[in-house]
Symmetry: C2
Amino acid sequence: MLTKQELIKYCNDARQNYLDHVSIDCVVFGFHEGQMKVLLLKTHHEEKWYLPGGFVLKEEPIEMAANRILMERTGLDKIFLQQFHVFGDPDRSKFHNDLYKDMLPTQENWFAGRFLSIGYYALVDFFEVTPQPDQFSESCTWRDLDDVPELQLDHELIFKTALDALRLQLNYQPIGYNLMPKEFTMPELQKLYETILDKKLDRRNFQRRILAFGILNRAEQPRKGGAHKAPYLYSFDLENYRHALTEGFKGGW
Amino acid sequence: MLTKQELIKYCNDARQNYLDHVSIDCVVFGFHEGQMKVLLLKTHHEEKWYLPGGFVLKEEPIEMAANRILMERTGLDKIFLQQFHVFGDPDRSKFHNDLYKDMLPTQENWFAGRFLSIGYYALVDFFEVTPQPDQFSESCTWRDLDDVPELQLDHELIFKTALDALRLQLNYQPIGYNLMPKEFTMPELQKLYETILDKKLDRRNFQRRILAFGILNRAEQPRKGGAHKAPYLYSFDLENYRHALTEGFKGGW
DNA sequence: TACAATTGTGTACTTTATACACCTTTGTTT
DNA sequence: AAACAAAGGTGTATAAAGTACACAATTGTA
């Protein structure tokens, strides 16, 4: 809970710098070695969880805003964010809007206005980044997908919609660059798909299909040292990968 | 061109009623008997073409806003609109913003502010609806997809992005209800797909594939009276159609 | 009556998808 | 050292889907 002075200061700052009525919320999925998580913020002294979100500067492109917001609120930089939906229910922040209504008249409280929220999602390796909570948050932590706490506002809807969008994306776009180490084994890549889809895939059929996409290069030398048979190492063929990103996989019709 | 008094009046009205910084633009694709068109507005006394767009009322859900805007600007009612993207470049309406800068200082001109635009698209039978221009427009007309005039602002980008979204949709959702008459022949339905995709499909393979989706019922009696062999008539199985709409066609992974 | 246009139906071939089995490698157990 | 378990590479049989065709049936027109 803010003091009245703090609230007024934040309102003035926001009114001056941010575009009114528009916010951005980011759903950052984290993957590492078969585990999938989502990045959440928890406010000070409360058990209230949020997706990292924020506002758009008056002259800022929204893609830049999404990246800046993610950076400011979680410390994560240079993450590829993908716009997926706008959440525009006028009541979506009703509870939030009323929070400070006794302290400051709603008309004077910039944050109590109506906000549409543009949803962005991303998929990162959570071992490659170190989330840092901002001043408003007590913690910024990865939560297992099957252990997501109750979220504030409509953030559960945003989260679920993002997960659907991500799963749909698997069908016509390559995925995994920036998630896998430079070289990785086929079972490791399969884990990624299985984790996102939350189901088991056949080892051999997965291999055939993913190889058919033509976005992988196999290294000469297999990985050594581990227990069991030495697996081959693969890396993404960046050129083909990027091409597949823009062109998509199967044409459909 | 508006007079200064008119502009001031519109600004006041808008400031009072509309959410600042947010607009909606609709890309309405029209289809009938193998022709595909897009609905455009032309301003009075100018050769300036726009997509039908407008603003969101302060307490209005954005889906309702999209429908109201389409109704107000084109007369089209009860059209299923699908949100597909937000266009958030701060310069997207730069030219438009400067239009009245000599008449009214930019700060006082509500319309000269920055607007994000939420894109919606729809697909309708253009024989079933009668577009009516609103007071701002000289005409509201269907234009052939390959004869789209130069569009104002970033409306060409919005149009093209909508077309991509529509084509992508063909791969995992049924389409055509509300576009085809209650009963239609297979070649007629094929025309729809060919027109949207702008390419020829094999007659026989199309039939097999579309029938495999299980969303069509074949009538007992073929159509009579026309020249040539009497074709069978089909209608959409609404239950299966709706199911396919929510579930999607092929799972992919 | 021949013909062109349109539509229905079939079939061979290719490609993908699915469901399996078997072998190799490597560290651990006995 | 031999046996074993676990992980991983590769293959194959079958089914389903996609592609490319050919031919027959119907109907109005030349």
